[in-house]
Symmetry: C2
Subunit: 318 residues, 2 copies
DNA sequence: GGCGAGCCACAACGGCGGGTTGTGCGACTA
DNA sequence: TAGTCGCACAACCCGCCGTTGTGGCTCGCC
């Protein structure tokens, strides 16, 4: 029960399965036939199963070998993808999002669906904050970031570019017992006096800035404090509460038990939207970055410009 | 450019990423802290990238490390699946099909969709022929097989059971210039005098037996000979031919360029169906096998019993 | 500010895994 | 039956990777 599988052995196995002969593989991999024999033998011992039947003119897959083969190929491809994800120079396009349930994440899923051949890595930088993202883009560690730009455009570091690409409308999320649960739509003014609970927002982050401004603008009681026990817990509390509500992005896909009977209620007059900008470096020549720009250009036309609200700092941007 | 990645190093990497400390990982993996340090260092060298920033109270992922982490997890899962596919005793349910484009393969895809947690391996035994499949089931090398049983039920080896589960209707496949291309449906009798081309059928296989009987029954000219250049070639030839047609399973999903304009024409009065039986061993106690039986039972009711044709040997079965 | 604690890296050493060469054995062929 | 082809076993040996021992760095605490 060593458990561990040697990838070189797996590579050797696949080669033998393809060529049908230990010797071919030996030549191909520039080792001796005996080494191939040993590798296969060890792999068979590790898996405690026989992979080939040795005949006088080669090796033939056993049924176990046939079952193992596709998994072996998949394993090697996974290794390739893993190595490619950090390969300096020609790695996957690396894009940062604030979190995986916001509109940009959904947008990137669509992008990936449209260009499945492009290597794409979506990641969530641990320390939230635009500065961190900008620094990462500047250093070349990541290729792009979807963030809300809370600082004036002219103060961006040299070479850093940013364009507002996605406005994510917010919706009110309530349980069935909430006073606004039956409303077809509500305005921000309707929310005055109601408690809005958005747990897990750390002070000083983009989120905090946005919700602070939103609360100040409309006189709302947005309560960002309180421990974040995860989305499930939030939904759990909302489902039973007549006084608490929350705000979620329109495209945020949440899963909850049907008996929770939560409601999503659109916001109007105006609709608060979260302004996501794409941030990238002027000199970044990653080919997939151009493709991403292209993809975004085809989407940007769908953006609404009237009836929406954003913080003052967002309207100062290009 | 060693290229090869050591899975033990990857395991170590993931552990350090989770715990945040080399020492924790060392204790967890029952090795020394120095060994962990070396493994990570070597992995970083292999990938020529820095994965952690070492601090005074632990190790923190770099951005490259964050990008690598999900791929590393995926890689380890792939290793697990590969090992599980042959793990004696509790390996994945192993089911043989005649080929991956027939109805049983589609059925297994549905089965897998319905029970995604079950480990399932679909394989195509190289040497076609029922006997091979039966022998494999008998030896326990595979758990089940979808095959056409061409021998009487009573002659099955002891312990081997078989039940006819899927009848796959055949359709005529023609190019736009074919004389029958515009017909909404045809009968086998309509095919007399037309050339039916089904390349790649080896003599002595289940397929050959079936098509021989079909041809004899209705006086058809089914031409199984000729080299098999692959499906693309077959479609290519059909698209341009006014005299050649082929037979395909109703559920066979073929992809062809739209300008080929190929037609699938149902067969009636009677509809030739290919009788797939599930073959398994009475004493096989693999839990997923019971689930498969359950799944099949819920489907079997959809089988038509009238207006179909099968070879005589098929009707002799239970 | 100095001292101790915690955590990681470097150095020297040793065992063993995995490569090599050399040889043997079984199967198919002429 | 001799020859060839293809894989396995044996002996050897190098290098990798683990160990122990130690040093350096950065905290936090008195």
């Amino acid at each position: 029960m060593s458990g561990g599988v040697d990838l070189d052995a797996v590579r050797t196995f696949v080669s033998v399965a393809d060529t049908g002969q230990f010797q071919h593989t030996a030549a191909e991999m520039a080792i001796t036939q005996q080494a191939v024999s040993k590798r296969i033998a060890k792999l068979e011992e590790d898996l405690s199963v026989r992979l080939f039947t040795r005949t006088a003119r080669g090796a033939q897959l056993t049924i176990d070998g046939q079952a193992f083969l596709p998994h072996a190929r998949e394993l090697l491809q996974a290794e390739q993808r893993a190595a490619d994800s950090v390969r300096p120079g020609r790695r996957a396009l690396r894009v940062d999002v604030i979190n995986r349930r916001t509109a940009p994440a959904a947008l990137l899923r669509d992008f990936h669906r449209g260009y499945p051949d492009l290597q794409l890595d979506v990641l969530v930088l641990d320390d939230s904050g635009v500065d961190v993202a900008i620094a990462a883009v500047r250093s070349g560690a990541i290729d792009a970031a979807f963030r809300a730009i809370t600082i004036p455009a002219r103060r961006l570091p040299d070479g850093i570019k940013a364009v507002r690409v996605v406005d994510e409308p917010h919706q009110l999320l309530t349980g069935p017992a909430h006073k606004l649960a039956a409303a077809p739509a509500v305005t921000p003014a309707d929310l005055v006096g109601h408690r809005i609970w958005i747990p897990g927002i750390l002070p000083g982050t983009e989120w905090a800035t946005y919700y602070d401004d939103l609360a100040a603008e409309f006189g709302l009681a947005i309560d960002p404090v309180g421990p974040n026990f995860g989305t499930e817990h939030l939904l759990d509390v909302l489902a039973d509460s007549a006084t608490l509500a929350s705000l979620v992005g329109e495209q945020t896909r949440l899963l909850w038990p049907t008996h929770y009977d939560l409601r999503r209620i659109p916001l109007h007059d105006p609709t608060p939207v979260y302004p996501h900008s794409l941030i990238w470096h002027r000199d970044n020549s990653h080919p997939a970055l151009a493709t991403l720009h292209h993809h975004l250009a085809s989407i940007r036309s769908r953006r609404r410009d009237t009836g929406i609200w954003t913080p003052a700092w967002a309207t100062r941007q290009a």
